[in-house]
Every structure is written in structure tokens, then in C-alpha cells.
Symmetry: C2
Subunit: 345 residues, 2 copies
């Protein structure tokens, strides 16, 4: 197997810097649209053959060093008892938002093998189909980010209702987060049992929190998940991605994660200075930089590779998901350039 | 006159920490709605009596230490030749986006006294009506932020078209930014001539840039404006607010501004460490923290005041504009608490 990604996560020496792209199984690929046209988005998440097919596409097309399960962070919330809809324009919608004691009490902690078999079946199918070509990353949302969707009833800009609950009903907020944390822990454990060889926890919206609120209302739940996974015998590398989280980096270091994901707003060399030799880093090219002409894109890639020199390990990635507007040839060029520019010896 | 705000900007000792709120003349105030109901948003910006009335409201109602001109950062762009519309739901729209050489060539640099008299008349009216009660802040958008609206044709999430122009047509981008910079410099100069006693430059979207792109595509234009203002004899304090700009702070220090505005994502004490004794700081309570019960809100305010202790000067503010959902009594409590908790001697 191409072990480069796993080695870099563990801080071991590699021949070159491994690379994968957040949302690499996605709308920028015509091959993805071909599969997607046969299903709704949620149906595709629940159909192992389809989910596995799009998961493998970027491995073959781009030559990335890891596959990541095709799914959505909101999928387990549906099984907690919160009906979920995906609207073409508005994105995800929870028509029954969770905003009071009764709504929190009604939420359940699903058994993943019983309630989310399609996710685990997809992982099992992928491990067979990938045939150890590259490792498979499983994932979940982080509790804060998941809670925002339940509280706001979908996406948000200001997260006013979420912060209102934190600030004015901290016990209610904690009860909700406790349940989401329990669900997420079981869910990730089951993914590893099914064959996931690494895990990423996406905290997509945590960048709207001040460092103080992060320490009180978001980080403790991430710490709890990772602690329980590790105490439960999970040994696969765990990546924590706090999007727009430059000012949260010193605290993220205490999350227990083996790797911290970085968005593009922080200079890689600065990040290495902040985290020191304790964790590996993942990132962090601006997704829009995939529009650059090749020579200019190489300059940016080289700067990130140089900045990561002192890191315990480095996995190249974008600083956020790849955008639907990116030509696949540009993504392929990036993967090839990372491999070429980082090759050692 | 209550000189507290101006003194803090200049790094002089004050009896207490001055405070104002971004968007303090705004939709959270019922008194604002009373005036607003008689005009469209743009009409109100162009009607000195109305603009002055809502500018003064928060001075009387909240007891803030500075007034800020009621207007919109996009107002001068209309006079550059880009028709501007405000839609109730979508926000600002430029139906003729500026995306090619011909469109940039057509833009003009307006003479503010001839083309934007209503803004300058509002300032002159306000200076009379404020009768030196508190100082009046004038403002503009920063060139990068203004350019995003022209290029994207309105608000955006990814700013893909803006970055595409930067990355693939850097000369075109520079030509556009040069014109916006010239317009903004004249506009701010005219505001000071009309009576503005301080200036704030809002870089609302600059937080989507990596530090590298900031140094190349945004900061130089801010530096040029401030240099030309100061060389042109402008002596009023200049505040530069790079929203979501924690990682841009070391470079923002070279903007030439007397004060740097901070959003709430960075800890105030950390910011003081980064900027040292060179500039004063403004900020940075999470706008949502105005939902906190009084005792908890005081804790947050005290933490920010304590964090700012080593700063050259500190002007208390929110980390972003006040939200329409905030009860005015909560904003009033914040202003009173800042004054009380910071009083010296």
C-alpha cells in the first residue's frame, strides 16, 4: 500500500509529501456528475456502490495519496431524530430545529451498525475495492459544527441562535452537545471497526468563536471524542480541522489529534512555530489558487512545502474544500506538483 | 468636547476607555426604523437631514463616545460609474460587474464635492448638530473590499471571480485597484475637509486572503491611501479595520494607520503582544455577546479591558457591526459597563 499519508500523519519520514483534497469526491469532476445524476444527494450517501464509486474517482483521476469516504457530516444527525433535507439552493435544512429542552430530550444516540449501515457498508466495500492502493479516511463533523445546524435549522452566517443558547441556556447547550458527542464517538469508532484507516473531524464553523468561547463551548467535546476513541483502542491517526481557526491553534494542540488541519489564512511557517514538534500539520493552499497558471501555482506550493519543513509531519491539502468551478486538470497538476517538488533524496 | 475617543486614538491617557459600536446607527434601534420607513436605503444615505438624524441617535440613546457618519461603503462606487442597487433580500447588487479592461477603463474618479455632495453636507450638518458633544468619524471601504463588490457584482462567499482576476490578470486587477484607491483617497480627504475628526477604513472581506495575497493585493493600496492622506496634511486619527484579519495583524501594522480594529476572533492580550506599542487597538467584543446576561457580559468586557492594558491606546468596540436582533437596552448596558469598569483614579 501507498503508506505515505499514514506515515506523515504519524510523523515518520516519507519519500515525498502526501496530498489529498478536501471534497475531492465532488462537483468539479464530470465523472461525479454522471453518478450523481442518478440519485438525490442523500440517496447517494446511502447507496454504498455509488458512494464508493465517487470516493475512488479522485484516486484514479488525480493520483492523490488517500481516499476519503463520500458522505456528509449531517448524515448521523438524521438518525439522532432530526429530519434532514437538502434543498438545491439553500443547502441542508433541518425543518425541526433543536432549540428547547423537549427537542434535546427527544434526540437519541443511534447505534451506527443498526442505523447507519450504509456508511459502514460503504467503508467495507471501499476497503475491498481500493485493495490497499491508498488508505481510506473516515470522518465526522465536530460537535459544535453539528450543533449549529440543529440549532439554526441549517446553514447560518452569524450563528446568533447557537450563541444565544450557549450564552443564555448553557445547561441546555451542554445537554445537546453531550448527545452529539456520544453519537459522534460511536460513529467514528464504528467507522474504524469497518475499516477506516484514519479519521478527520471537521469543525467547519468553529472559526466564528472567540478563543474564550472555543475553550468553553467547542474544544472540550472534541477532546472527549478523541480521548474516548484512543482509550477505546483506536490507533488510526486522527485529524482535527478547525476551519478559519488560526487564533484557535494553540488550544487545538490540546485536542488530542495527531494532525491539525489548517485553512489558508495562516502562513504554514507561522503555524509550525505555534504548534512545534507535537503534531503533524495538514494544508493549506487557498482553494482559489487552483486557478493560478502552473508556474505561479508551483510558487505557492513550494512556499507551503518550505514552510512545513520544521513540522512533525506534513500532509498537503487545500485550506478548504475544492470548488466546483475548478478544472480537474488544475487539481491534477497540483497533486503532481506537490509530489515532484517535495521528493527527497 | 468629549475628547476621550480622539485621545485614545492618539495614545494619550484618558479617564476611562471610550466606546462606540460599528453600525451603531442601525436596524436594532426602533428610532432608526422610524426614519428609515420614509426612504429607501440609498435615499437615506443621500439625504443629509435623515443621515444626520440616525447618526446622532446612538449618541443620545447609548451614550457612546463617538458618532460615525451614516452612509455605506459602496456609495462612492456609484459615482465611479457602477450603477448600484440595494435589494431587500440579496443586499447590494452591481448589475454591471467590472470584469474586463473595457469596464475598468470606463470607471472614473469622481470629485467628491461635485459628485458626492450629500455625504459632505451630512458631515457639515453633523458637526453643527453634534455641537462638539462627541467627535465625528468619517469612513470608506478599503480598496480590496470595494473591488470585490464590483468584480463579483455584489456580495460573495468564495470571492472566486476576484481571486481569478488577481491570479490570472494581475495588471487588470491593479488597474481597477488603482482607480478605487484614487477615488477613496479623494473621498476621505474631502470628508476631513468637511469636518470628519477621525477616519475608519473598513476592509470587511480581506479575511478571505492568505497573508501572502494580502501583502500583494490588498495592503499596498491601504498604505497608499494613508500615506497620501498624511502627506496631504490630514492629521485626524486613521483606523484600519481588517475584519477576520488575525493572521494579517503583523502586516497591518505597516498600513500607516494610528489604530487597528480587531474582530472578536483574536484575544485582545494576544493582539497587544503582536502589535506592541506602535498603534492603538479598537475592539473586540463578539457582537453576539450582547445577548449575555449582565454579569456575564461584564466578565467579557473586563477581560478585554484587562487584555488591552499594555496597548498604546484602546477604543472599546464590537468585533463587527451590531446585529439587528440586539435589544437596545443591552447595547446601552455595554456602553455603561465599559465606562464604569474602565474608570481610572
Amino acid at each position: 500500500m501507498n503508506e505515505t499519508f499514514l506515515k506523515a500523519c504519524r510523523g515518520e519520514q516519507t519519500d515525498y509529501t502526501p496530498v489529498w483534497l478536501m471534497r475531492q469526491a465532488g462537483r468539479y469532476l464530470p465523472e461525479y456528475h454522471t453518478v450523481r445524476s442518478k440519485y438525490t444527494f442523500l440517496e447517494m450517501c446511502k447507496t454504498p456502490a455509488a458512494a464508493a464509486e465517487v470516493t475512488i474517482q479522485p484516486v484514479d483521476i488525480l493520483g492523490v495519496d488517500a481516499a476519503i469516504l463520500f458522505s456528509d457530516i449531517l448524515v448521523p444527525l438524521e438518525k439522532m431524530g432530526a429530519p434532514l433535507e437538502f434543498h438545491e439552493k439553500r443547502g441542508p435544512v433541518f425543518p425541526q430545529p433543536v432549540r428547547d429542552r423537549a427537542a434535546v430530550a427527544k434526540l437519541v444516540v443511534p447505534d451506527p451498525e443498526l442505523e447507519l449501515p450504509y456508511v459502514l457498508d460503504t467503508i467495507r466495500l471501499l476497503r475491498r475495492e481500493l485493495a490497499n492502493k491508498v488508505p481510506l479516511i473516515g470522518f465526522s463533523g465536530a460537535p459544535f459544527t453539528l450543533a449549529t445546524y440543529l440549532i439554526e435549522g441549517g446553514s447560518s452566517r452569524q450563528f446568533l441562535l447557537t450563541k444565544q443558547m450557549m450564552y443564555t441556556e448553557p445547561e441546555l447547550y451542554a445537554a445537546l452537545l453531550d448527545k452529539i458527542t456520544a453519537c459522534t464517538t460511536l460513529y467514528l469508532k464504528a467507522q474504524v471497526a469497518a475499516g477506516a484507516q484514519a479519521l478527520q473531524i471537521f469543525d467547519s464553523w468553529v472559526g466564528v468563536l472567540s478563543p474564550y468561547d472555543f475553550s468553553k463551548f467547542a474544544l472540550p467535546y472534541v477532546q472527549r471524542i478523541i480521548r474516548e476513541l484512543k482509550e477505546g483502542g483506536v490507533t488510526v491517526p486522527i485529524i482535527y480541522f478547525a476551519n478559519n481557526g488560526a487564533t484557535l491553534l494553540p488550544q487545538s494542540l490540546t485536542s488530542g489529534a495527531d494532525v491539525l488541519g489548517l485553512d489558508w489564512r495562516i502562513d504554514m511557517a507561522e503555524a509550525v512555530k505555534v504548534v512545534g514538534p507535537k503534531v503533524a500539520l495538514q494544508g493549506n493552499l487557498d482553494p482559489c489558487a487552483l486557478l493560478l497558471p502552473p508556474a505561479k501555482m508551483e510558487e505557492r506550493i513550494s512556499a507551503i512545502l518550505a514552510g512545513a519543513k520544521g513540522a512533525r509531519g506534513h500532509i498537503f491539502n487545500l485550506g478548504h474544500g475544492i470548488l466546483p468551478e475548478i478544472p480537474p486538470a488544475q487539481a491534477k497538476f497540483m497533486v503532481e506538483a506537490v509530489h515532484r517538488l517535495s521528493r527527497r533524496g
